[in-house]
């Protein structure tokens, strides 16, 4: 039976051999890995620890604060901007100045409500490229059967549609341009070939 090995991130490591390196052992400037003896330049940082103060009902008293919906012993500091639930500072998630509870935050990131917190996107550029190549492949094969090459028209059009979606995508960036230009050229070649072959077939 096949086993799946999940390699999880464990923190700073040698950039050459991936052997774990404790931060204290790394010197700023040129350093050497004790395992692979490889050289690398390093800059070490010491970010502040993220520790949250949590008010407890036992300290504040039940009159001064309501309790958190997820942690009954913690005092609520605010309520969720989406569902209105009382939440403590452990549950409080800040997004664009609005506070959300973890459940609402999860639901919003799965949809399109919070684009900045999203971690999964459709790759329109790869889709358009794949469709463009597929259209070329089908058109070339069907050139042997003249009216069939007209299949390049809808396939090319679909590739062009994906190109438009890629350009309109908020995630669009300039580095996608070469791939999209190739997609446009492939799609136009397929549509053009399809139109010419189909027109020729009708004329005959």
């Amino acid at each position: 039976m096949a086993t799946v090995r999940v390699i999880s991130y464990t923190g700073p490591a040698c950039p050459r051999c991936d052997a774990a390196l404790p931060l204290e052992s790394i010197t700023a400037g040129e350093d050497i890995c004790p395992r692979c003896q490889g050289f690398f330049n390093a800059t070490v940082f010491h970010p502040p620890q993220r520790i949250t103060r949590v008010l407890q009902i036992a300290h504040t008293g039940p009159e001064s604060a309501g309790s958190c919906a997820n942690h009954p012993r913690n005092a609520a500091v605010t309520n969720c901007g989406r569902c209105g639930l009382f939440i403590c500072s452990l549950c409080e998630l800040d997004l664009h100045g609005e506070k959300y509870c973890p459940a609402c935050f999860d639901r919003m990131t799965q949809g399109t409500g919070t684009e900045q917190a999203q971690t999964e996107f459709r790759d329109w550029r790869t889709l358009s490229l794949a469709m463009g190549l597929f259209a070329v492949f089908i058109t070339l094969i069907l050139l042997a059967f003249p009216p069939g090459a007209a299949a390049g028209i809808p396939l090319g059009a679909l590739s062009l549609y994906y190109v438009v979606r890629a350009f309109r995508d908020p995630q669009w960036s300039r580095d996608q341009l070469p791939g999209l230009i190739v997609s446009i050229l492939l799609a136009l070649a397929c549509v053009g070939t399809g139109v010419v072959v189909f027109a020729e077939y009708i004329r005959k």
Binding site: P15, R16, L23, F40, T43, P48, I51, V54, T114, D123
Partner: protein, 159 residues
């Protein structure tokens, strides 16, 4: 709601994975391409622990170009004549590229955060890699030096 503009920094592609790396206002974003989906990971500047830069020979690229040069040279030798010469000249191009890749090492920048890391590879532009390394370090330093509203004294308690 507008998405803050991102700046493309570079790529880190291997035989099985493709990563595009961007810099946003708060983090270094790594877009990992999986079929027709992009999975985004973020290394926040405030979480960065270590930034490294090292040079290495791109073994795969060297082996591929030298191997392909050998293959083309072999075909050229078998074909002979004009076509053999054409194949031979293509082989020389790949041979020069392979030797250049051995001579000019690729530069790799790695940013280690608390929960994730980002890697960028520069094949030829080593000066740009050095500039970017310094730029990332400066950016992280600036963000981490800003006094935060994080509490350093209190403890975490869960009810």
């Amino acid at each position: 709601m507008t998405i803050p503009k991102r700046r493309f920094l570079g790529r880190y592609n291997t035989a099985i994975t493709r990563h595009a790396v961007y810099a946003s206002d708060a983090a270094i974003e790594v877009d990992q391409q999986e079929n027709f989906k992009i999975i985004r990971k973020r290394v926040f500047y405030e979480d960065v622990l270590l930034v490294t830069q090292h040079d290495r020979v791109g073994i795969l690229a060297v082996m591929f170009s030298l191997g392909f040069a050998g293959f083309l040279a072999l075909i050229g030798a078998i074909a002979g004549g004009g076509s053999g010469l054409a194949f031979g000249s293509f082989a020389v191009v790949f041979l020069i590229y392979g030797l250049l890749r051995i001579r000019i090492k690729e530069s790799i920048i790695t940013v280690f955060g608390r929960r994730s890391k980002a890697r960028i590879r520069f094949t030829m532009r080593r000066a740009r890699a050095q500039r970017l390394y310094e730029e990332i370090c400066e950016l992280v330093r600036t963000v981490q030096e800003v006094p935060s509203d994080l509490d350093h004294d209190s403890s975490v308690r869960e009810g």
